[in-house]
């Protein structure tokens, strides 16, 4: 059974919320957590997910134990999570909470999984998640909210600030500046001033550079979004400005794609470790990749020997500047068949508060989904993006198939396998990896 998800909010409302999203919230801080059950209640909960490590969640378990010392919470990493989670939810030992992603929405493979989700918007549950930016909350067709964002991410680049300081350059904010800065960096001896993983995946370099621009264009032409999501070939024209910009970029000499392919072997570890070598001024990366930097600083011999200051910036792909697309990175859903559903919801009530979500995002080094974006220093540049260039992936209305087609297009154009025209014309049938 295929369910389609619609956008609930109008663009105007979205724009209004964006203003809130990018700025600091003026709302009163959430009150402290008030347990609803006896402190000595003994119970065990399992949270299942695909993260091999979830230290930020485990830290929350410890904080939760202060209210329920007899509780026992465990995070379980599931092998082949995407394929197994549906079975796991109906087996004899189902997890109480499990991670979900927005890309799962609309994929019938996950229909049973979503069927097993507790409706968190059910007033009877009294689940207060008002601290989460509404633009990040996805709803089912029915209007039910069954997944709530825990982390958000973005597309952009890691910038080696020491190089810019050393060369006396400012971090570029629009495309022209990017070309100019790259020219200077090249003449200063930086072979490929910009690098990234030449991968099909989300953190791939082309995606980081041009996806926000594309998403913004889609949002601006929302009437064509459905055609795009339905993979209608005619809708491919929406990709053209972004593809042309990408083409311009890869042929500008700012980036040596071949070098990237050779030196960066995966879209996560390798990206970070190569960046830590210290000779890459700008490295395309997502927020998820950026979140892995802290842990790897000590693992990089080069960085340990010569540490440098680095920050996350949006890619300067637009003529008037870059775009900050805030995408949901990870959501939590509750198994409605949980054998301990009351305490599971109690834990969710505890977790879905500004303070706890902020703590988790801080530990994970991702962007909090709460209304007050407590940017850490790594993300400090995002605060300067004008509000009209800030938006969430939900607001674009793009569905996963369309996103994947766009990704295939930029992968082909970026690697010279297709021209822009060919890619535009082939929309809907561009071969995916």
């Amino acid at each position: 059974m295929k369910k389609t998800f619609g956008r609930i909010l109008s663009l105007s409302l979205a724009a209004m919320l964006l203003l809130q999203g990018c700025g600091k919230s003026e709302k009163e801080p959430a009150e402290g957590f008030v347990p609803r059950y006896d402190k000595d209640t003994e119970f065990s909960l399992t949270v299942a997910g695909s993260y091999s490590n979830f230290e930020s969640l485990e830290a929350e378990f410890e904080r939760f134990y202060e209210y329920y010392p007899e509780a026992s919470l465990e995070y379980v990493t599931m092998d082949d999570y995407d394929n197994v989670i549906s079975s796991a939810l109906i087996n004899s030992e189902p997890p109480d909470i499990f991670t979900t992603n927005t890309w799962m929405v609309g994929n019938e493979k996950y229909d049973s999984m979503f069927d097993a989700c507790e409706v968190l918007s059910d007033p009877e549950l009294d689940m207060d998640y008002s601290c989460i930016r509404e633009s990040l909350i996805w709803s089912m067709d029915s209007g039910d909210v069954v997944m709530l964002p825990i982390f958000t991410s973005s597309f952009g680049m890691l910038v080696n600030m020491d190089i810019f300081e050393k060369e006396g350059l400012e971090v570029p904010t629009d495309f022209d500046e990017l070309l100019r800065v790259c020219g200077k960096l090249k003449s200063a001896g930086y072979e490929s001033p910009v690098m990234g993983a030449d991968k099909f995946s989300g953190p791939g370099l082309f995606n980081c550079f041009v996806y926000p621009m594309f998403a913004y264009n889609v949002m601006e032409n929302s009437d064509k979004a459905d055609a795009l999501n339905n993979l209608e070939a005619s809708a491919g024209e929406l990709m053209r400005p972004s593809l042309e910009r990408l083409y311009e970029f890869v042929n500008s000499g700012c980036i040596d794609v071949e070098k990237c392919r050779e030196e960066i072997t995966d879209d996560y570890d390798s990206v970070i470790m190569r960046f830590f070598e210290g000779d890459v001024p700008m490295m395309f990366a997502t927020g998820d990749v950026a979140s892995g930097t802290a842990k790897r600083e000590s693992k990089s011999g080069a960085f340990s020997a010569h540490p440098f200051k680095y920050r996350f910036f949006v890619a300067p792909s637009g003529d008037d500047g870059g775009y900050f697309i805030n995408s949901t990175s990870l959501c939590f859903s509750v198994n409605k068949n949980s054998r301990n559903i009351e305490m599971t919801n109690e834990f969710m009530r505890f977790l879905l508060r500004r303070e706890e979500l902020g703590n988790m995002a801080g530990l994970k080094r991702l962007i909090t989904p709460t209304e007050d974006l407590s940017f850490d220093e790594l993300y400090s540049s995002l605060a300067d993006i004008p509000s009209d260039r800030c938006f969430s992936d939900k607001e674009t209305g793009l569905m996963d198939p369309a996103v994947r087609q766009f990704r295939a297009a930029i992968y082909a154009v970026g690697n010279g396998d297709m021209t822009v025209d060919e890619a535009v014309a082939a929309y809907g049938s561009i071969p995916e990896e």
């Binding site: 490590n53 230290e55 485990e58 465990e74 599931m78 079975s87 030992e93």
Partner: protein
Amino acid sequence: MKRRAVIIINLLIMGFILFFIFRYANSKAEESRSNGIVAFEQMTTTTNQIIVNYLEDEQHLCDIWANYVNSSAQDGNPMTADEAISYIRKVKISPEIEGHLIFPESPEMSGISTTASVSDPGEFNVSYKRISIFDNLENVSSDTDVVNLTRAYTNPMSGVQSIAFLNYVTVLDRESGSLKKGLLMRVVPLSTLEQKLVFLKGEYENVEISLVDQEGNYVVHGKSFKNKNFFEYYKSYNESTAEEYENVIREITGGTGTMTIKNVKGEDCILAYTPLETMKTWSLLAYIPADDLVTSRSIDWLLLGIASCGFAALLIFNSIVLMSYNLKLSEAAQQANQANEAKSYFLSTMSHDIRTPMNAILGLNEMVLRESLDENVRMYSENIRTAGNTLLGIINDILDFSKIEAGKMEIINVDYSFVSLLNDLVNMVQKKAEDKGLSFNLDVDRNIPTVLNGDEVRIKQIIINVLSNAVKYTKQGSVTFSLNSRRIEDKPDSIMLRVSVQDTGIGIKPEDMDRLFVAFERIDEKSNRNIEGTGLGMTIVQRFLAMMGSSLEVKSEYGRGSVFSFEIEQKVIKWDPVGNYEEAFYRSLKERVNYHEKFTAPHARVLVVDDTPVNLTVFTNLLKQTALQIDTAESGDECIALFTQKHYDVIFLDHMMPDKDGIETLREMKAIDETPNKDTPVICLTANAVSGMREIYTKAGFDDYLTKPIDAERLEMMLLQYLPKGKVAPALGSDDSDDYALPDFLFNLKEIDVGSGLTHCGSGESYVLTLKMYLDSAEKNAEEIEKYWAAGDIKNTTIKVHALKSTSRVIGALELGEFAARLEKAGDCGDVETLDKELGELISQYRQLAVDLEPLREQDGEEKEDSRPLIDDGDLKEIYSSLSEFCENYDFDSVVNLVEALNKYRIPEDEATRVDAIKKAVDNYDYEMIPGILSGEMG
């Protein structure tokens, strides 16, 4: 001891006890902990065995499955994969256990499951493509003794976290008809294994059992362990070097043991570890909070807590008691302070109030002594002086003591003549001793240097006290005063002076020795009650000696006598030895002279201000013979009036006066510009002799101060210091260095008292001259008396007897004088009978005395040239004028004094006759002739 010190000591003792308890409790806890850890480690080993047994059992079941399938193949009747799974489905008892037969060679790592997928009941195919659990397939052994186990993974069919036991089987490939190798998996939910560990909860409530693989990845883990990997968890929460970290990995994967690690909260936890037997790839970790292993610790803390509370209560109680005592003590101290202040006030008042009348008493007494010729009166007066001085001594003792108490007594070292010091001491004590009929023996080391440096005043005071005590407490026998000196080895500039006073007095009982130096204590009060004193003497002595770095030693035998001695270090200024002091002393006795004014200053004018008229009289009389012009004033205002009118050379101003005291008066005086006394020194008269007075008076603007009762000598010395030198003339015959040697025989004459004679005549020389005149006129006078008596002229007989009385007294023939006085009285009363009976005896004694004085005539011939200074013409005329004035006023005593003064001078030849005539007239009591002699009519 101060309160703070008491509390600190209390706290220290308590701290020590608590520390001891704490240490004891800790060592017990440590012991208990060690035992606990050992037990915990044993538990871990036991658990290990249980788990191993379980795993072996499961592996065994897997092996049975495999063996059955393989035996079919070996029997030539190999099973297909479906048949094998079908067989397993039948034989497996537990529904939650699954059997998977997969073919690792297939691209999807696919196979068949005994149980359908939970999400698709018709699906039995299983794929392990996305589950990386077969990295070490080559290690999977068919050996039945080995456990072949996967890590914990998610069962792709059910989504349940599981482990799988492995063995190889050979099955028939239906399609190819050939045999192929498959991997048989006995898939067991992880929860089954976890349940095996639950039983341990009873023994250790908070124990958490975890299983980790060789890389540290958890197979099973307790809620306290975070991260997916134990070693990463360890690294996150335990600070360690790379080497330590490697050690931890090596230990945990390599053997059995225990270690302390920190958990996420930073608390100490015990981790026991041991590898699972039969399969070296897994290790068992047993985790427990360290505190849980020290069960007896809570009891120790309770003990410690109770002890602490008890001590705290004790401390509070003691503090309260101490505070209440302290409160009482502080009240008592306050009262004592008030009493002390009252004492000081009393001393100050007493000083003034006693010294003021004493000034009058002693001053007036001094007048009596000087002016009275009546021996009885003089004797009474002498007694008054002695008693007065004793009283002053007592007051001074009290004042000294108060000074010492107030810490205001200082040792002031000066250069002093040792002989002079000795003279003063002996002079003061010798007479007292002799008056009591005691023998006063002197034993002075001839080698004592003549000039020393030390606090002469205090040394004198110390020795006087000791000597006076010896005299006071000795009824008969002797007092021996010994002085010796010895050099100090390492101080070549100093000597150690040893002073010793031995008496044959009443001595001190051994039990009284300790009270000897206690202030106001008087030893043997009952038997010594008639001995005057304050009980302060010895205390003061001991305090002074302590200030000089010495102390008084006492040896005493009750009823036999005592020896008081001490040693003091004195710097030597002049090493000349004193020589035979005793001889010098006895000689000096003979040369003792009476008071004589030191100077005359008839043109100098002084003002004396005192509210007590008698003090003014005393003051004026004390200076009468200096011929000073003295103005008096009885109040500050009167003083100021005179101050602005007349010039004075010195002003003496009393401090304590009603209305306007001395200091206020002085202040007003200083403020006056229109005065002829701008530079006149002002000296304060005060009866206050307590410490710090000099500072007060000099600060107030006085140039000096003089204590009352006024010491005549000090007064004159002060005047000599402050009077303009031009107005001061040496007193007639005031040559203090009277070294005229009296003929020795005089001292052997019973009839005369040399001292008394010297007192009346002023000097030895004058005395001898007077004696000679007495001798010269003796026969003539004796004859005249006889002549008048024979003629029955009682009146003239009486007059002549009166003259004999006076002259005899002047030369010290006191008995004869008394005899003459008695007969004079009889003559005055017309008692002819007495005269008749005794006059002969009087004349006989008179003549005998003359005979005894005859050696004087012989000496005359031996006499050297007159070495006396020649009197100045002006002075002589002034004396003539004074004599004339005295005669007019019938002040014959002054006439006698003035004529005696003349004896000290050589008279110019042209005036010798006149002076001799005057002397004769005086000798013959013909005072009425003197004006005639002066005017030139020689009689």
